[in-house]
């Protein structure tokens, strides 16, 4: 029998019992949709947590701490295998002030090597990276912290700098927190770039990013005013960037072995991924129980179909239908129920997932009375294609297994007994 004739045959039989088949498909749909939506919550929470961890940080970043970190050690780190970049950022730990076109503000300076920053993926909103010691990149919120001099002491709303920053020059001064006056030495710096906005809304970036070449100038000013040998102008942290995600574990392990304190997001993510893998597997398992319950319906429908069609099966066998063909026709019927149920379930699940992601944040924020939750990027449900494949495979396999026994029963129908059945 040709395949299209087999499909036609199955279609005709399904048409005969529309309501019963519809109810069975509905059960299969509900079971599969339950599995997909349930597991999608696991995927959604996993994704939300991953994004929370990854926000503003790079997956291949390894934070390295050492009490005796210096440039020599940084240079050694750069030469390690599988290391793409080593960024040694040093912050100025002193009172600082910037002045630009009659606007003043307090901005911390971070000194770094832009060659390494570029390799690590330092992102600019506009402009370029500095090319000499008096060029700087400023944080995205730099202007927010520049207040018009005339309005500083007034009670009225202070006016902040609104103009473009690229190409602007400003003066940078340092001083001690305990002294009212700043050091008189000024350094004139040119803004050549503005850093990209931090991924998290609540983080403000007021920093000035200057090249390490400016360090001698800063040190000279500092030492000319401060005699204390124990006070340090800079404190730094080192971020090592592995070539790719696969190397993160190897690099961080090697650094640990050498006595560095190491933290990488990849380590944290690995633990998180393992936990969520188990969690999602658990959800799929619970969802599969719903499909198994639906499979009872498929089993019943197919058993009824075989019983009702005993005489027809007998006639088909009598005129030459092979047992294999009979079995295939019934398996196709149960598979069809599974396939149609799965397709409808996938469509419904995407709809439910979309609505859940739209409505649930509003409900949760209303219930908790916190607007921040609504503005946060929480994803309650995600349906990746892998989940659709897993759910479809489970649903269709279970449908076919449910139809297996009735199909076998159909092949075993005795022709003589079947032909004796009353019409």
């Amino acid at each position: 029998m040709q395949v299209n004739d087999q499909i036609d045959f199955v279609r005709q039989h399904i048409k005969k019992n529309k309501l019963r088949v519809f109810m069975t498909i509905l059960a299969a749909t509900m079971g599969t949709a339950f599995l997909i939506v349930l597991a999608s919550v696991g995927f959604g929470i996993h994704d939300t947590l991953r994004n929370e961890i990854l926000d503003n940080r790079l997956i291949n970043q390894i934070e390295v701490y050492s009490s005796e970190m210096d440039l020599a050690k940084v240079e050694k780190l750069k030469k390690r295998e599988h290391v793409k970049a080593v960024v040694f950022r040093q912050s100025v730990s002193i009172n600082q002030q910037s002045e630009l076109d009659g606007f003043i503000g307090s901005h911390n300076m971070t000194v770094t090597e832009f060659q390494e920053e570029a390799k690590a993926g330092f992102a600019l909103q506009e402009g370029r990276l500095p090319e000499n010691e008096y060029e700087v990149v400023v944080g995205n919120d730099f202007a927010e912290n520049l207040i018009e001099l005339n309005t500083v002491d007034r009670e009225a709303e202070p006016s902040t700098y609104k103009g473009s920053l690229i190409g602007k020059q400003f003066t940078y001064k340092m001083g001690l927190y305990e002294e009212k006056e700043l050091f008189p030495e000024k350094i004139t710096l040119t803004i050549v770039g503005v850093a990209k906005e931090p991924a998290k809304d609540w983080i403000m970036d007021f920093n000035i990013y200057a090249d390490a070449a400016i360090m001698p100038d800063l040190t000279r000013i500092f030492t000319s005013h401060v005699d204390d040998e124990n006070s340090e102008l800079f404190y730094g942290n080192v971020n090592v960037y592995a070539e790719n995600l696969e190397n993160v574990t190897a690099v961080s392990k090697a650094l640990k072995d050498e006595g560095y304190s190491v933290y990488s997001i990849a380590d944290q993510l690995e633990q998180l991924d393992v936990f969520f893998l188990a969690f999602k597997a658990g959800l799929v398992f619970v969802g599969t129980i719903a499909i198994l319950i639906a499979s009872i319906g498929i089993f019943n429908t197919m058993t009824m179909a075989v019983t009702e069609r005993t005489r027809e099966i007998g006639v088909m066998k009598a005129i030459g239908a092979s047992p294999k063909l009979i079995q295939r026709l019934f398996l196709m019927e149960s598979a069809w129920i599974g396939i149609l149920g799965t397709i409808i379930a996938v469509i419904i699940s995407y709809g439910v997932s979309f609505i859940a992601n739209m409505v649930l944040p509003i409900i949760v924020s209303a219930a908790l009375g916190e607007e921040e939750i609504a503005s946060m990027d929480i994803t309650f449900s995600i349906i990746p294609w892998q989940l659709v494949i897993i759910a479809s495979a489970i649903s269709i396999t279970v449908a076919m297994i449910s139809g297996w026994r009735p199909a076998r029963k159909a092949t075993k129908i005795d022709v003589i007994q079947a032909l004796r059945q009353e019409l």
Binding site: I319, P323, V415
Partner: protein
């Protein structure tokens, strides 16, 4: 064409553990020539239907040999039997055994579908046969919309559709009135003459038996040749 040797069969009856064997066919041996109409007559329970079921491969004999042409069909598996039936046998049943959900056309077409014949060829063959049995007008009717005679004609067309060399007819006129019975018997005789098909007719009706070239009488599981039916 059909050679049967020492064919025996018995049924188990009674409760499990207390079953007993009831012999139904007791070592039958006979032969049927190609192009013959043979009728097997006998009373109810004589074993004639069991003989047909075994010859058709619906049932496995306890012992004995059935040879059709060069093929020993008694050694077939269920799947082999089904394939052989599709290619070599046609069936006409007392209750017509048409598929209620299929039209007259689709019922006749069914064996060709099972054989995997292309749609275009199927359509042509079915049209020809429906014309032969005079049912072109009602080809789109379902079995419950047809008279008994029309249903039996559909059944005959279905039996002929694969051009089988042998057609088994189990009480082919058992459900028909005498006038329709005559029409069907004439059709069988005509098909036998024009197409050379071998007909094996199981009946308890002497009128039907008389249309055969040869009549076998079945009595208590034994077969005796009862002589020639109509003059051929």
């Amino acid at each position: 064409m059909i050679q049967v040797q020492e064919l025996t069969h018995s049924f188990k009856i009674g409760k499990k553990g207390k079953e007993r064997q009831v012999p139904v066919l007791k070592g039958l041996s006979f032969a049927i020539k190609e192009g013959e109409i043979v009728s097997i007559v006998g009373r109810s329970g004589s074993g004639k239907s069991t003989l047909l079921h075994i010859l058709a491969g619906f049932l496995k004999p306890d012992a004995g040999i059935i040879q059709i042409g060069d093929v020993r069909t008694s050694a077939f598996s269920e799947a082999e039997s089904a394939k052989f039936r599709l290619d070599h046998f046609g069936f006409i049943f007392q209750n017509f055994q048409l598929m209620p959900g299929l039209t007259a056309f689709e019922n006749v077409e069914l064996p060709l579908k099972l054989a995997g014949v292309a749609k275009k060829i199927r359509r042509e063959k079915v049209q020809q046969l429906l014309q032969l049995v005079g049912l072109t007008e009602v080809q789109d009717h379902y079995p419950n919309e047809l008279s008994g005679g029309q249903q039996q004609r559909v059944s005959i067309a279905r039996a002929l559709i694969t051009d089988p060399p042998i057609i088994f007819a189990d009480e082919p006129t058992g459900s028909l009135d005498s006038e329709t019975e005559q029409d069907i018997l004439l059709l069988i005789q005509s098909l036998n003459k024009t197409r050379g098909i071998t007909f094996i007719i199981i009946t308890h009706d002497d009128t039907v038996a008389e249309t055969a070239d040869r009549v076998y009488k079945m009595h208590d599981g034994e077969l005796t040749e009862g002589g020639v039916g109509h003059a051929s």
